[in-house]
């Protein structure tokens, strides 16, 4: 009897390497996929996400641009007219703001403005959020701006497997996608199956089943929510953790199913809470699950302040204790609700 080795489908990859592999595989499959931005060529990007792509695919396929974010995004729009599929890097979250006019006025609206005649199958990769000790302008949670702009899809993977497959989907998507990469997760490592897709974008994932409380999280808030759920278990709470995976499209259905089962919900988001994604989720849950709720939906978020200097970020960021505190306030003993002041 001969043994034939099964092809290697799964390997342990960091989140960063998974994105690199997704870019490689997309570029291999489709010559029209172009990667460009600041320092993405020879250097391989400041986070080395595009490491080796210029070497392996040539300067025509992965190239450095002038230092101008609006130009990068607008240039990508122009390339879409010729049938290219650009994947551009914004280097850091707050560095994308000069490109915001292009993103809000053209990337988001071109398909609509032209009655579907022009499609922009482009991906804008945004390394985002904090927890890495970065100085100012390097740690913004900017997902709310994009999610608030109709016409943009906003993905935010939280595992290497999702980083790989969601980027593959983003590149294949005929709609423009803002691909939010939690910087703090770049070095996290897990098995990635590059042959079998995980759940399609638009479906949330239950990362930890539980019966008494639902934590809704995404991107950088997923690991801290999972840690909080473990800690809560020690205090006797059975916590379910739902990972949204994408903010647009939003999987209302899975979130609501979980909350209706558990009857209690805390939304966790690293972005400051006021007028943000967490507030949107809390509102949607209250509207749809009102009669299933045993307590008001609470938000645990970053503080309503500019992202702080590195030595203060752990006070700013929603951590395990802040999540546990919220869980404690979910009216377990029919005590009057004590509201928070984060909104």
């Amino acid at each position: 009897m001969t043994t034939i080795d099964a092809p290697v489908r799964t390997s342990s990859l960091t989140f960063a390497k998974a994105i690199n592999q997704a870019l490689r595989d997309a570029m291999t499959e489709n010559d029209d996929v172009l990667v460009f931005g600041e320092d993405v060529g020879t250097l391989g990007g400041v986070f080395r996400i595009t490491d080796g792509l210029t070497r392996d695919f040539g300067e025509d396929r992965c190239f450095d641009t002038p230092l101008a974010e609006s130009g990068i995004v607008g240039f990508a729009i122009g390339l879409c007219y010729n049938g290219f599929r650009p994947v551009v890097e914004m280097q850091f979250d707050a560095f994308a703001y000069p490109a915001f006019e292009q993103i809000a006025s053209h990337v988001a609206k071109m398909h609509n403005r032209t009655a579907g005649n022009v499609t922009l199958p482009m991906v804008i990769r945004v390394p985002y959020a904090g927890g890495i000790g970065g100085v100012e302008h390097h740690c913004d949670s900017s997902e709310g701006y994009y999610a608030h702009t109709p016409g943009l899809k906003v993905y935010t993977p939280a595992t290497p497997q999702d980083a790989y497959w969601m980027l593959r989907e983003a590149i294949a998507d005929p709609d423009p996608v803002i691909f939010m990469e939690p910087k703090v997760l770049y070095w996290s490592k897990a098995d990635v199956d590059t042959e079998t897709p995980s759940a399609p974008v638009g479906q949330a994932a239950v990362r930890r089943p539980g019966k008494e409380v639902t934590l809704v999280a995404y991107g950088p808030s997923l690991p801290v929510s999972l840690k909080a759920a473990e800690a809560a278990a020690e205090e006797g709470y059975d916590v379910e953790v739902v990972d949204l995976r994408s903010i647009v499209p939003l999987d209302d259905k899975s979130v609501m199913e979980s909350v209706r089962r558990t009857g209690r919900c805390v939304v966790v988001s690293e972005a400051q809470g006021f007028a943000g994604v967490a507030g949107e989720l809390a509102s949607r849950i209250a509207e749809r699950c009102f009669h299933s709720l045993a307590a008001p939906v609470l938000r645990v978020s970053g503080l309503p302040l500019p992202y702080p200097a590195p030595m203060l970020e752990h006070t700013y960021l929603p951590g395990v204790d802040r999540i546990l505190d919220a869980i404690d306030r979910l009216q377990w003993d029919d005590e009057p609700f004590v509201g928070d002041n984060r909104g």
Partner: protein, 374 residues
């Protein structure tokens, strides 16, 4: 200390010291002296073609202004007086070239061969863009200033990569040269040797702000030099000169020399839009002085003096223009049918559950309204 440019690499970029002119305001041919590049009078048939399209363009523009007064258009930014820029620049292109217009380029779009009703769809308010950009190789009219120039740079680079002998032409006004995207577009196009022409219609005012408050540069054409972009300035009311400069720009781009910047000196005869009161910021004398530089009259005088245009031919073109205006009037006076459900058609190619929820809500609202009226 007086400095003189002697570096040939820089001299190749420089515009002519004065705007290129081939026909003076009286219709007389100008003897070329001192231009940076050799410019020759375009062939008679091309000049006749441009004159015809300018006459049609102006009649279209007047009709659009009238339709605004009748409430048929939400707003209309006239380009009367800028016919030489809009028409000659477009007529110099081939169908394979791309065009990136602003909201003021209605006349250019008509000259491009797009149905005038489709050109006015944006301004009528029944949809955003009435024509098919991919079919016409003409991007949707752009309202944010200069943003479409980076698209033109990207498209031009894409054309080059695809091995096409085509060029992307982006239009802007003088005010838009202050926007960041103008500079990013020139820089990107230059760095990537993209075959893009940036055509600045310097019509002297950005709404009410005169050029002197817009820039300290002696000429907007000089803005190309810093980016390594070959530049030229042209009399924007001289259709022959605009054609000749566009020919040079197109040849420059098609031969792989990268982008080209054109500053066309012209004048906006009407206000910024029908909603603007131009008497607040400019004098009647100034406007009258520009009447003497009318591009249509100028080319007509030249053509007639050469026996290239007679009364019969001129009348035939003017009748053609009247017929176009009449047809436009009739079709614009018909109330457009706008399907409210079209709101949801092209937000995403694959609609999100949230868009589907909104669609279902509007369906319910419309059904309820329908029951009330029944």
């Amino acid at each position: 200390m007086q400095t003189t440019v002697h570096d040939p690499a820089i001299e190749d970029l420089l515009p002519s010291a004065r705007p290129v002119q081939l026909i003076d305001p009286t219709g007389a041919e100008v003897t070329q002296t001192g231009t940076r590049r050799p410019y020759v009078m375009p062939d008679a048939d091309r000049l006749q073609d441009v004159w015809r399209h300018m006459v049609i363009g102006r009649r279209f523009d007047l009709q659009a202004t009238a339709l605004t007064k009748q409430g048929r258009l939400a707003v209309y930014p006239s380009s009367r007086g800028q016919e030489a820029c809009q028409v000659a620049a477009v007529r110099a292109l081939t169908e394979r070239d791309w065009m990136f217009p602003t909201y003021r380029e209605s006349m250019a779009l008509v000259s491009r061969g797009i149905d005038p009703v489709e050109v006015l769809t944006l301004l009528r308010g029944s949809a955003h863009c009435g024509y098919e950009p991919m079919t016409h190789r003409t991007a949707a009219q752009c309202t944010p200033l200069a943003t479409q120039l980076v698209h033109a740079a990207g498209t031009a680079y894409g054309l080059k990569r695809r091995g096409e002998d085509s060029v992307a032409l982006g239009f802007i006004g003088d005010g838009a040269t202050s926007e960041g995207d103008f500079h990013e577009a020139l820089n990107f196009a230059a760095v990537f040797d993209a075959p893009a022409i940036f055509f600045v219609q310097n019509n002297k005012y950005a709404i009410s702000v005169p050029l002197a408050k817009q820039t300290k540069a002696p000429s907007l054409a000089y803005k190309g030099i810093g980016y390594g972009v070959a530049s030229e300035q042209v009399d924007g009311n001289d259709p022959a000169a605009v054609l000749a400069v566009m020919d040079a720009a197109l040849e420059h781009c098609r031969s792989g020399k990268g982008p080209f910047l054109v500053e066309a000196h012209t004048y906006r005869m009407d206000a910024h839009t029908n909603a603007d009161d131009a008497t607040r910021y400019r004098s009647g004398d100034e406007v009258c002085a520009w009447l003497d530089r009318d591009p249509i009259a100028r080319l007509e005088a030249y053509l007639r003096s050469r026996g290239l245009l007679n009364d019969d031919q001129a009348n035939a073109v003017r009748q053609e223009a009247e017929a176009l205006a009449s047809d436009l009037r009739d079709r614009m006076n018909a109330d457009p049918v706008v399907d409210p459900m079209s709101l949801f058609d092209n937000v995403f190619q694959s609609a999100t559950p949230q868009v589907e929820d909104a669609r279902a809500m509007v369906v319910r609202e419309l059904q309820a309204a329908d029951e009330v009226t029944r």
